[in-house]
């Protein structure tokens, strides 16, 4: 365990040095992420100029939900996105051999290699959105609630990570599948919607089959209405299940990997 922590710290140090070398890139990507977050927040605030409720959620409740969803996504972007994105490219090109030769868990080595400081920086903006919405709603969460919220965000991160690994693993079978990571972005759009908005088939698919709605709604509900065992258990179960599925599919795919060239 400590060995993996050391490896991760070494990767983090390398990423920080790299960011300091390419400062313009860092500012550019930080701005890109900030703009996209603003797009989502602006849309919500424009809709609420014309209506008081979306599926029973008030404006600031909704902003808290969107902020939570963005927070999980920022963490994913900051800690894993670059590495997993490159993983897909490396599988296609054959550069993935490099990771196979490393002494350690292959999924860990390949998915934690690079940190994106811009994503981590923007996670503070997302936290700001959540804190501001909570303030406007007059919420005073206890330390226990906050701790629970943090644990739930971590579970959400595990779920997002697993979904991304699953969609990238498609590359083991279909090497021509470029842009397949788009699946992840499309699915994450659903996580900015309140659970109550889903009915019928949509509820079955996006709430029960895919965990995208639970990821954001469970932590947001905890801040808004306190600890609810059903939400917490659903999230924990989904996190374990999806991580298991991702590890399984990734290793299944690994058997099919046949390198490229010499």
């Amino acid at each position: 365990m400590t060995r993996y922590l050391q490896i991760w710290l070494a990767s983090a140090r390398y990423s920080i040095v790299r960011t300091l070398m390419f400062r313009f890139d860092f500012f550019l990507w930080a701005t890109v992420e900030l703009f996209w977050m603003s797009v989502n927040l602006l849309m919500i605030s424009v809709i609420y100029d014309h209506t008081n409720s979306i599926a029973g959620w008030s404006k600031y409740e909704m902003l808290l939900l969107v902020g939570t969803s963005l927070l999980v996504q920022r963490f994913l972007m900051g800690f894993f996105w670059s590495s997993i994105f490159e993983l897909g490219r490396n599988i296609r090109s054959g550069y993935f051999d490099f990771f196979l030769a490393q002494p350690g868990n292959i999924l860990f080595m390949a998915s934690t290699r690079k940190l994106d400081l811009d994503g981590i920086l923007n996670s503070f903006v997302a936290m700001g959105v959540v804190a501001y919405s909570a303030h406007r709603l007059g919420l005073h969460p206890s330390a226990a609630d906050l701790a629970l919220y943090a644990v739930m965000i971590a579970c959400g991160l595990v779920i997002h990570y697993s979904m991304l690994v699953l969609s990238i693993s498609v590359a083991f079978w279909i090497t021509s599948a470029q842009g397949i990571e788009g699946i992840y972005f499309t699915l994450s759009e659903f996580s900015r919607l309140p659970r109550e908005a889903f009915r019928g088939l949509a509820s079955l698919v996006f709430v029960w089959l895919l965990p995208v709605v639970v990821v954001s709604n469970a932590p947001a509900q905890t801040l808004l209405h306190g600890f609810q065992p059903v939400w917490a258990l659903a999230l924990l179960a989904a996190a374990l299940l999806w991580l298991g599925a991702a590890v399984f599919v990734f290793h299944r795919g690994l058997r099919r990997y046949s390198s490229a060239s010499s």
Binding site: T31, V46, T51, S53, I180, E189, L193, A197
Partner: protein
């Protein structure tokens, strides 16, 4: 002219070959439409009208917008141009009597023709399902003027993509710029919400920018979000103005960029 016709025909063929990419994009669009349906359905649950429009009208707006984008949207033209500059493929165009802009535009038109016709297939399935929600105005003048606005919109979108592609003369990577501009375009082009829902001053400001004319304007003509004919003519005038400005900018960036360009090897 003949040489661009050939470029167009090759564009048609290559787009028919890469059907898989189209299928993936169509599939994502379907999910996006589901998000729109769920979000706006929930927003309309407490009210009958938002900005003077019913749920059906708003849904129609998003559907028209989505279908229209398959006909006029520039999706990866910027990356393709960037790639050709970076790996030196444009060198061959510098040596031949071919206008690179026209060559690229011919391929763009071919690509949009293919994706536009292909999107009509899933639409045949979707329309009967959504029939109860769809409402379009019946004024006949909306069709010809909307089509003209769409043609200008295609030119604007292609020109913007072309500009971003040419940035490769100055920067190694353009992806950051492109995704940044996508955020701006998605808001100011009306893809996130109909622009008329913006506060009055912001709407008037948006009307002065090119993004308004690259997607929102034609969609608003078709779906009745712009009421009177006078406003449409005025809009077409501003749209044409932006087409001219952007074409000029393309030319400017091309000549300036070529001065920096170094062709290596044979």
């Amino acid at each position: 002219m003949n040489k661009y016709r050939h470029a167009f025909l090759i564009g048609l063929q290559s787009n028919l070959v890469y059907r898989w990419n189209f299928a993936v994009r169509g599939f994502f669009s379907l999910f996006h439409l589901a998000v729109v349906f769920i979000l706006w359905g929930a927003a309309y649950s407490g009210t009958r009208s938002i900005g003077g429009f019913s749920f059906g009208q708003t849904l129609t707006y998003f559907l028209v917008m989505l279908v229209m984008q398959f006909f006029v949207g520039a999706f990866n033209e910027d990356y393709q141009i960037s790639e050709e500059i970076r790996n030196g493929l444009i060198n061959q165009f510098l040596l031949k009597p071919i206008n690179y802009f026209l060559y690229r535009f011919s391929i763009f038109v071919a690509a949009r023709l293919v994706t536009g016709v292909l999107i009509l297939l899933p639409l045949l399935v979707a329309v009967p399902l959504l029939r109860d929600y769809l409402t379009l105005p019946t004024d006949l003048w909306r069709i010809p003027l909307g089509v003209v606005a769409m043609a200008f919109a295609a030119l604007i979108q292609f020109s913007i993509a072309y500009c971003f592609g040419l940035l490769t003369f100055w920067f190694l990577e353009i992806q950051g710029f492109v995704i940044l501009s996508m955020a701006v375009e998605s808001i100011l082009g009306g893809q996130m919400f109909p622009l008329d829902l913006l506060p009055g001053w912001a709407y008037r400001l948006a009307q002065l920018l090119p993004f308004y004319y690259q997607t929102y304007f034609p969609a608003a003509i078709f779906t009745g979000r712009i009421h009177d004919l006078g406003a449409v003519w005025q809009g077409l005038g501003i749209q044409l103005g932006w087409v001219v400005i952007l074409l000029g900018l393309n030319q400017f960036l091309w000549t300036r960029g070529l001065r920096r360009h170094t062709a290596v090897g044979g």
